[in-house]
Symmetry: C2
Subunit: 428 residues, 2 copies
């Protein structure tokens, strides 16, 4: 993160805020072949790809009850308590998103309402590897269970010995999910999209993954399977003013930068001196980070931008539409009013992104790649359909029926009109 | 609608409930060429396709203020009043969907909330032709305005004389939309996706259309532009029991059947005699319908199914997941509890689908093709992003910080942990 940009002109913003370009075209053929194979051969195909990519030969894709029962004892007690605290907070915040039914009488005798009904079958993809993302299982599983999804299917990678990490099983069990399958990558997405003998087909697939998984999700989406949202690399923008603690700001930028080589961080501030102080802190703090190479690589995608005033700064930030936005200012609350496009916003000096990633209660599955301009993060909304209902009484149809007849006729839909006329004339 | 199916076995349902298959693959090359051309040449391309497909040579794609001002006088006074009533009801129902901000203190010192913020730029596609769908403009435009979308772009087809139907302009003006453009089909979708010199690029495109429009929306969606929902032909299912009025049921089935050649209607009932009575009514009523050919064609896609009891009937209906579902029964309210998958539900004998299409207040842009299993119809949700916020105090980070440290470390994200540690140790 070498260069600091001072008051860039608006016409330069697009280039300045450019994200690492992702092109999945080259992957399509590979991904498509695996999708088709799983669709055709089911379990046999999933088992074969598991052998090929995960290096383990399984007899069965199902995680057994015994494996789940054994998991808690294999997880550190303090970590279990930490996860339970996170579960409590995530549950509280998401429970508040449940919608109650409000009946609206739009005209006398015309009552309309909307009811949230859980999507029956959902699939959660939890990436495995060296550090299994159990926090993602919390973030996707808790709202799925709260919403009342009947069949929640989890797919995650087995290790070389054919086991799923105990921490994943502990979390699944803790939040009330018992269908966990040993399947990773494209073959897992295919299984949850089309179903196999063992893994159920689902209506909507959630969860992050590498570029193959992202490509697979896009491709099954085009075939009619819903997905949580389009995906891209993780990113963080920080607005910092003179009230900020440059050490905290640097630590937050570094925390985002360690996610992956293509992560992006952006610092927007009102004074060049702040950017310089943060820069110094970054150099100091990054020295002893274990993922230092990743951090340095992803900092090359990153920018420090000095804007003349807070309004200009937020205009630029809204144009960027960051997944995560930290407002490191004593005025965070009032500046929050200027936010139009962001996934999740962290207010003040004591709200690091890590808090939201794990335990504040908000969801960490958020729109990246500028999609925050139009998509929301995962919430209870993501696990339900909202069905509308209307009930007209005899009086109700008398009140609005004539208007419906006129409008239907004007659109040339005579039978639509007639369905009303018949009812209006019932007693004549 | 000749055949009546009695108690079909569950394994037969899939074939019985099969929808007309839509395959856009053949269109992709044509659609893709127009998309690229508009992306490259902008207005010039849109004007050329307008000449080619709409048969009119325009100088300008913009509908002028003068054209809008002249529109109301060209619309019948009674129809205007009908539209105003519809506007009132749609406004009432959608206003009730506005979410207020609820701040949740998940742990002492950790406050989380969610705020709905309008998508800044939305595009509404309103099909033209012989019967311009002004009702669709009401259904998309009203929530867009209520949500506070800053730039609402409407594209609709000009007629041979280069004019947009006055009723469309009357509705646009009535609901507070002033950016209307003369562009139809794929070129309109392309313009709203990529922007031209005249037509602004938008972040999300709404609205129905023919198979070319549907294909274009899918293709721009894959390029990162959001769309309202995947589309298919319109459809209606009716559950009718012995309390139903067979004449009303027949009229409702016919109203759906007139939408298009590929519309589908399904009648599910508990007695064969009801199906027979409805069948007779259909024959009687269809005789003098102006769109009789369409009605007859789409009835060939349709089914009458007799199930043993209401529970089985609703299991089948949920498997079908109809866009529209009428419950023609005295027990409509309690039967409504059995609905899991549907776009919009019409309760009782006086709630024809036409009421919801125009004026009850619910939205008529609904998921078709079985997508009601996972998607909701258009609502205020469709025009906003829900941004989450969190604010931790010093106490807040002390309360959850240690849990975050443990979880971050367990996921191998040392810098995430450090961002918390630095704050916990601030005063040490």
């Amino acid at each position: 993160m070498n260069k600091i940009y001072i008051n860039p002109e608006q016409k330069e913003w697009q280039i300045l805020l450019q994200r690492p370009v992702l092109d999945h075209t080259a992957l399509k053929a590979t991904v498509s072949a695996i999708l088709s194979d799983v669709q055709l051969r089911g379990d046999a195909a999933v088992l074969a790809y598991t052998k090929q990519f995960d290096g383990t030969e399984l007899n069965n894709l199902v995680v057994t009850k015994a494996e789940i029962a054994a998991a808690p004892d294999l997880v550190d007690v303090d970590l279990r308590k930490a996860i339970e605290l996170a579960k409590t907070n995530i549950t509280k915040f998401h429970t508040a998103q449940k919608e109650s039914i409000i009946k609206i009488e739009t005209t006398r005798g015309v009552v309309c309402y909307r009811k949230s009904v859980a999507i029956e079958k959902v699939g959660l993809y939890i990436p495995g590897g060296t550090a299994p993302l159990f926090s993602t299982l919390l973030m996707l599983g808790i709202p799925a269970v709260l919403a009342g999804c009947k069949e929640i299917t989890v797919c995650t990678a087995p290790d070389k010995n054919g086991n799923v990490p105990p921490i994943i099983l502990f979390v699944a069990n803790l939040i009330g999910i018992d269908k966990v399958y040993k399947a990773s990558g494209v073959q897992a997405i295919a299984a949850m999209a089309f179903g196999t003998e063992t893994i159920p087909a689902t209506y909507k697939i959630f969860g992050p993954g590498n570029q193959y998984v992202t490509c697979a999700k896009q491709m099954v989406n085009a075939m009619g399977i819903a997905i949580d949202m389009p995906a891209g690399p993780s990113e963080l923008a920080i607005y910092a003013d003179e009230s900020c603690n440059p050490g905290f700001v640097a630590a937050d930028l570094l925390s985002q930068a360690e996610h992956g080589l293509d992560s992006q961080v952006v610092l927007v501030t009102t004074q060049a001196s702040i950017a310089e102080k943060v820069q110094q802190e970054i150099e100091k703090q990054s020295a002893d980070l274990p993922r230092k190479e990743i951090v340095i690589a992803s900092l090359t995608n990153s920018r420090m931008i000095v804007m003349e005033n807070p309004n200009d700064a937020f205009t630029l930030l809204n144009e960027y539409a960051p997944e995560h936005l930290i407002i490191a200012s004593d005025n965070a609350e009032s500046l929050a009013e200027l936010v139009i496009n962001a996934g999740s916003v962290f207010l003040g000096h004591y709200s690091p992104e890590s808090a939201g990633d794990y335990a504040s209660g908000t969801n960490h599955t958020l729109p990246t790649n500028g999609f925050a301009k139009v998509y929301s993060g995962v919430s209870m909304d993501s696990f339900v359909k909202k069905i509308t209902f209307q009930q007209l009484t005899k009086q109700g149809i008398q009140e609005i029926g004539h208007a419906v007849e006129l409008m239907a006729a004007a659109e040339g839909l005579e039978a639509h009109k007639k369905a009303v006329t018949l009812r209006l004339n019932e007693n004549q």
